[in-house]
Amino acid sequence: MTDTSALIPIEQIVTRWLFKYRKSVDDYGLYVEHAAQCYQDFNLYDGEILTTAKVTLNPTLKCIEMPDDLLKFINLVTPIKGGYWSFTQNDNIVNTTTTVGGVETRDDTQGEGVKMDVDRVVSYGAKGGYNKFRCTVDMAARRIYTDNTYTANDYMVLLYVSSGINATGETKVPSFLIPVFDAYLLWKETIIELNLAKLHDQRFDQYWKEKMKVRNLINAMSKDEWLDIFYSQFTQAPQR
């Protein structure tokens, strides 16, 4: 025996909602659009679903092109001894480019793509220490610039939030979100159907409650995690 799947297609969220609340299928398309918007909002503001993508530095422009589906930049990391080392955002890296003969490139004389603070690597342990892994996030150009320390051979991983909506295949969502979707669609219904306007605030409150319920679920720590923190505070006393 197996239980029902933990992931369900987003379309099924809507067909289930129509079924549960005795709605006609006339506005099916409309509510699918709202359900997709709900999922994007959840990913952006509440969710824990990060997209992890291996990215390659453009060796000429010294930057990483953001993926098309990136909504919110979270982190740029590079592997170090089995773990990730995070880049620190530094807004001072020169992020202009120069076009030569119709080709976009970078000009050293204008400080573009030049290595920053050479020979001034200071560890965190010392006063004024800083992380020498730095990047500048240029959302307008949808690029992440680094200085001249890295090459295309360096492994880099981009962590970001996407819409969660699959543009080419089936979009599946966690089934524990069903009550959030239900409440969201009921709330939106009060905006679409004018005769339900009086229920707007009530249904928005319910949506908010469902969202908070899910936030608690996904952010709650397990007993072992709490114990780990608790035990880590212990100091062993000398045995005499």
Binding site: E11, T15, V25, G29, L30
Partner: protein
Amino acid sequence: MIKQEIRSLVRNSLPKIDKTNRFADRYIDAVIEKALASLYHDVFLTNPLSLQNYTKVYYTIGFDYNTTGVTYCTLPESIIPLERKGSGVIRVSAPAQGQLIFFPTDFREMDLIANGSFFNSVNTKVGYAVNQTRMELYNLSMSIKGLRLDLLIPFSKYAEDEEVKIPEITDVIGTNYRQVAQTFMDRVMAILGVVAPVDTKDDNASVMTNAKDN
């Protein structure tokens, strides 16, 4: 009741003026059609999901593609227009019954969806938009051999021995909307009762003759 029984019920409920002047069948049918259409409208206001009870089903209706890439099918019968997406096409399905595959939409929505929407990315179902004579299909990529259409059709389009379901509603209760409704016979008689039979021969003739009209 079958169609001719309904007409007979109406005819026999009318007062007889004399032995020669009678209501024409076509006229009675038109009145019944009007009364029924208003009843269907009330059912729609009361509970749109109940419209399914009054549909006629057409099987294996073929569809075609025109030169501009529009997939469409010609409606097999005229429909009663309702103020909903899909109008009088209450349900469309594949010959094999099952999950929702078709959903009603309208031409405005089809235009907007195609101009960028989440829906366009996640949708796997087929939308159908209806005008007076045909139904256009959106996103029909699967191979389906013919469609099943559940249509709300006018009284005049039923065959003489076909059963016509009449909604027996007396109250219309919609959201923020309630009124005491007339029954089917009330509505028919309200129209026929004020017209003398002599004027209902449906020939617009100004001079009466002795020829029987039906």
